[in-house]
Every structure is written in C-alpha cells, then in structure tokens.
C-alpha cells in the first residue's frame, strides 16, 4: 500500500517526462518546417544565380541598363522590363491605395455591420478570382474603352496598371479593414470624449493606430503587382521598349519570362531569362526591405510620441 503513491508519482513523472520529450520533438519538427523556408529561399537564389551565369558573365552590370532585347543576335538588356514592372506596379498602387483605404475606412468605421460583412464577403471573393479572368475582362472591356479614349492600341502600360489596380484592391481593402477593426474601442471613445468629430477620430487616431496593418496590406499588394504575369501580358502589349507615353505598349519581367521561356533554344537566351528572374527577386527583396524600414521608422516615431 505504501508503494502506491510512489508508483503514482513515477507514473506522473514518466507522463510529464514524455510530455517534455514531446515538446522537444514538436519544437524540433516545427523548427525543421520553419527552416525549410530558408532552405527554399537559398535554393531559389542559388538556382537563379547558377542558371544565369552565362548571361552574367557576358553582360555584367550592363544587363540592368541596356535597352536591347534581341534573341537572334544574342543581345540582352533588362531595362525595358525593369521599367515596365516598376511603372505598372507604381501606377497600380497609386490608383488602388486611396481607393482601397477609403473603402476600408467605410467598411470598418461607417457602414452598418450587416452591410460591412456582406461587402467584405464580396471583396474576399474578388481576391480569389484567378488572374487570367482579370486579364480577359481587361482585353474585352478595358482595352476597347482605352482605344476609344485615345490609346492607339488600347493595350499598354496604363491599361495594365488599371487591371493590376483592380486585382490588388481586394487585398488592400480586406487587410486594411482588419487592421482598422483591431483598433481598440477605447482609442475611438477617448478621441470622441476629447471633442473630436467622428471623422477626426478616424483620421487622426484610428488610421495612425492601424498604420502597420495598412502599410502591410499595401506591400502585399505591391508584391502581387510586381509578380503578376498572366493578366499583365494580356493587356500590356509586350513590346520591350521604353516609350514616353504611358498609353504605349510596354513589357514586364514576369511577362517576358512566361512568354519566352518555352521557346528559348539558345543557352544565352535562357540564361538571360533566368537572370531576369534574379533581378525580379532582388527587386522584390529591395522593395520589401524598404517597407520594413518604413514600418520601423514609423513605429519608432509612434512610440516617441
């Protein structure tokens, strides 16, 4: 009988011991999963770097600044594609951010909950529409409209930007709305108690409080815009030149890779396309880095106040 509690205790210790071992195993397993992200990224960079060796050796840094893309003569320069990628993404953001932020403010601050929920559902549905559908809508609706509005072909950098703006809008609205909803009620009440109007409390208290989430939504949208391939190639005109007019055709990095990869028979051509992939990767990294810095600086300012 006296042995009973001892056995109980040892069983308990064994149980907890196993639990601790389980904890360690869980830590190990999840750490492996987490590190697979790093491994994947490293492999990606290695593959892109390795695959583009031929092109990097031949063109060096000039690859980034030359405008000729001639697969027959074996002359490759990335500038028109870099320009097209940045121009379409920047324009798309310029259109989608005010629109998206405005919609998010309405949905979280002003709209009755029922309408807000219904609209949010529709917006999240929009985010799930495949990009080729947006491309088709662009080709059949936007392009003829643009032609009537005076763009010579209808397709071009501006048309692609509009399609991109429509595509990234749901991201901005949906994530910004979440960020705005996460602002504590007390913040609003305190502002109202101090005599602020509803608008003043939204603009001067709620939005600054939610700025991290809002900036995050913008950069998620930017990442999508930079990498979007199908919808862009359908409406941008695929012309690797830098035209002064935004209504003229252009080309983006993702689009040219998708278009030319299957038929690139020459090694140098293939290598140049892979180097374009590398450029896009670093471009995305660079912009994400800037986003981090922006978030860091605003957070510091926030806490200082």
């Amino acid at each position: 009988m006296a042995a009973e509690p001892v056995r109980e205790a040892s069983r308990a210790r064994g149980f907890f011991g196993r639990l601790r071992a389980g904890d360690q195993a869980a830590t190990l397993i999840t750490a492996t999963f987490a590190s697979s992200v790093l491994v994947l990224t490293a492999l990606l960079v290695y593959e892109l770097f390795h695959g583009s060796a031929l092109s990097r050796d031949k063109f060096g840094w000039a690859f980034l600044f030359t405008k000729i893309w001639d697969p027959v003569a074996g002359e490759f320069g990335a500038l028109p594609f870099i320009y097209g990628t940045l121009a379409t993404s920047a324009l798309a953001l310029a259109m989608a951010v005010p629109l998206g932020l405005g919609a998010a403010v309405f949905l979280s601050e002003l709209a009755p909950p029922r309408i807000s929920d219904a609209l949010t559902f529709v917006i999240e549905l929009l985010a799930a529409v495949p990009s080729v559908i947006y491309g088709l809508l662009g080709v059949f609706i936007l392009v003829p409209l643009m032609r009537q509005a005076g763009a010579p072909y209808g397709v071009g950098v501006f048309t692609a930007s509009v399609v991109l703006a429509v595509m990234i809008l749901p991201f901005i609205v949906s994530i910004s709305r979440e960020a705005l909803l996460a602002v504590p009620r007390e913040q609003r009440e305190a502002a109202l108690a101090l005599g602020a109007t509803h608008w003043e409390s939204t603009w001067q208290v709620v939005i600054p409080f939610a700025r991290l989430g809002i900036i995050g939504s913008v950069f998620l949208a930017l990442a999508r815009a930079l990498g979007e391939t199908m919808a862009v190639t359908m409406v941008i005109g695929n012309d690797p030149k830098i035209h002064a007019s935004l209504l003229a055709p252009g080309y983006t990095i993702a689009a040219v890779i998708a278009n030319e990869f299957t038929e690139a028979t020459a090694d140098l051509h293939l290598s140049a396309l892979i180097e374009l992939g590398l450029v896009l990767f670093f471009l995305t990294m660079l912009l994400n880095g800037i986003a981090r810095l922006l978030i860091l600086s605003t957070t510091r300012r926030g806490t200082a106040q």
Partner: protein, 337 residues
C-alpha cells in the same frame, strides 16, 4: 458498406492491371501540330491498346531541351535544329517531317474585309515599321481599285517564342536583305515595330478586336475565326492564296531535292502555285534508342503516321506530305538504332 469498398478495390485493380501492362512513351514540343498529334496518338492507342503515347505541347524550344535532358523519349519542333544544336546534342536526333502548314497575314479593315494582295516588299516594309499606313503605295499598287483607308497599320506579332514566328521571320529574312541583317529569323526576335500578343489565339483575338490591325497566324486560326487573310506574291511572281493545295505545291519543289536529314525550309519556295510562307513540322527522334520496346513503338508509330496517319491531316487543315518525302522518310526510320 464493406461490399462497396470491396467493389471499389476490385475496380481499382481492374484499372491498374492494364495500366501496368502498358508501355508509356513521352514526347514534348511544338504547339502548332498539337491537334493532329493528339489525334494520331489517340488513334494509335486504339490500334495498340498496350501503347500509350503522351505528348505535351510546351513549345518547340522546350521540346528540344527536354529531349536533350532525356526527360522525354521524342521531341517535336516547328524549326529544324541548327548545326550548333546538333553538334552539342548527345542523342543526335533525326528529323522526320510529319505534316505541313501555312502562316498567313490576317487583318481587320472595317468595311473592307476581303482578300488583299501583299507583295513581299510590302510585308517586309510593314514589319520593319517603314510602311505605316494602309494606303501606302506598296499596298495600293498590289490592290488596284481597292479603297484602302489612310489609317495607321496596327501591327500585331507574337509575344511568346514560337515556331509560327520562326516561319514568318524566316520568310521575311529570305525576301528582305534588310530584315535579314537587322532582325533575322528566330522563334523570338527583336521586333522593330508593333506589339506582342500571346499565342496564335492572342494575335487572332487582338486583330479581330483592333480596327486597322494586321498580324500573322497559322492558317487554321484564320479559318476558325473567319478572318480575312492575304494572298502573297510568291517567288514566281504570282499572288497565291494560302490553302492546302498551295502549301503542297510549296513542298513539291523541296520534295525532289530533299536533304537526307530532312532539315529544309520551304519558305519562299519556287513553283508558280506555291504559297511562300509554308513549312514542315518535325518529329525529333533520337538516332539511338537504348530501350528496345520504346524504339520498336516509335519506329512503328512513324511508319503508321506516314501511311494511314497522313489521311487524318486534311480534315484538320494540315497539308499531307508529298509521296516522295514519305518514301524517303520510310528509308530513314529504318536507320534508327
């Protein structure tokens, strides 16, 4: 419930048994002949239920690369491999022409959608960006009495690398020294003018949608979309409409002095009825095949394709091979080791 699952298991077995007895042959390459290839592989499978030939239409360049890396058993291409590619190649593929097709200039002139005549000079001028308007003298002189408008020509080319582009630029290189020196032939080139659309269907769609536009597509896309297409003046000086007869005529000249490796371009072919923008499309089969079973299947398939297979070409708007070429290919396929 249990009985159902037993049935399910039995069904799965029934499915798996024939699958495991099948020999799988994989191929990849050109998109242009995909409709006829899938028809052929399907019909061949019906004749030989134990053989399954898979074909992925990933593009000619991709087909050549996959064949080189050994991930597929055969390739297919709209442009023959060049000397450099063959020299570097490990498995030294043999070229076997399968069918022929034409690339046509198609356009959208509101109120004037009829057959127009194009001289080679006009085509080269348009694609070099020198002939900019529809009422240019180069177009007017070939189309007397046609009220050509004063609008700009909205030029559309392929944005993706493509065998169709190769055939088109190969033709332009033959008829225009300026095109040859400035641009040259290729599946993807540095286009001096116009904008790019993806795929034959992309170009056809863009041309259909854009007034005063002009582009080039495979003949079948123009037929399917009921778009007008141009007669082109051939090497003999006659304006020829692209159709199966004129494509066959283009091959006739090449057939009599076909090189032993079948790598020949029939653009700008001689012969008074030849349509000048015609081409063969090729199967690429390794000169040596280690796997005896696969070798037997591929050789047998090529023989079948050259016989009964050729009759399936015409309903799908491909021109069948001339008899001389067929005879020569039958000799060549016997050399596969």
């Amino acid at each position: 419930m249990r009985r159902h699952s037993m049935k399910l298991v039995l069904c799965l077995f029934a499915l798996l048994v024939p699958l495991s007895a099948q020999t799988l042959v994989n191929g990849a390459g050109a998109t242009f002949p995909y409709p006829i290839y899938s028809k052929w592989f399907d019909e061949y499978h019906k004749l030989h239920p134990d053989v399954q030939i898979n074909y992925q239409s990933i593009g000619s360049g991709g087909g050549i690369r996959q064949l080189e890396s050994g991930t597929v058993d055969f390739g297919a291409s709209d442009q023959p491999m060049n000397e450099e590619q063959l020299a570097k190649s490990k498995n030294k593929p043999l070229h076997f022409p399968t069918v022929m097709g034409a690339v046509v200039a198609t356009y959208n002139l509101p109120g004037l959608n009829r057959e127009l005549n194009f001289t080679p000079e006009a085509l080269a001028g348009i694609f070099l960006g020198k002939v900019k308007k529809w009422n240019d003298a180069a177009l007017k002189s070939a189309n007397p009495g046609v009220p050509l408008p004063a609008n700009d020509i909205m030029l559309v080319h392929r944005s993706d690398g493509s065998g169709t582009s190769f055939i088109w630029t190969d033709y332009l290189s033959k008829i225009s020294p300026e095109w040859k020196s400035q641009v040259g032939p290729g599946a993807a080139v540095n286009w001096p003018a116009g904008l790019g659309a993806k795929g034959n269907e992309g170009v056809a769609g863009m041309v259909k949608q854009t007034p005063y536009s002009l582009g080039y597509v495979e003949l079948i896309y123009a037929l399917q979309n009921k778009m007008p297409y141009a007669r082109v003046r051939n090497a003999a000086g006659k304006f020829v409409k692209p159709d199966l007869a004129s494509v066959t005529a283009a091959a006739a000249g090449a057939a009599s002095n076909m090189p032993d490796d079948f790598r020949v371009s029939i653009t700008n072919a001689p012969g008074k009825d030849a349509y000048p923008v015609s081409s063969f499309t090729w199967l690429l089969i390794p000169g040596q095949i280690q796997d005896g079973a696969k070798k037997k299947i591929l050789v047998d398939f090529v023989r079948w394709m050259l016989g009964p297979g050729q009759k399936m070409a015409e309903p799908l708007s491909y021109a069948p091979l001339p008899q001389l070429v067929v005879a020569k290919e039958l000799k060549a396929i016997a050399t596969v080791q």
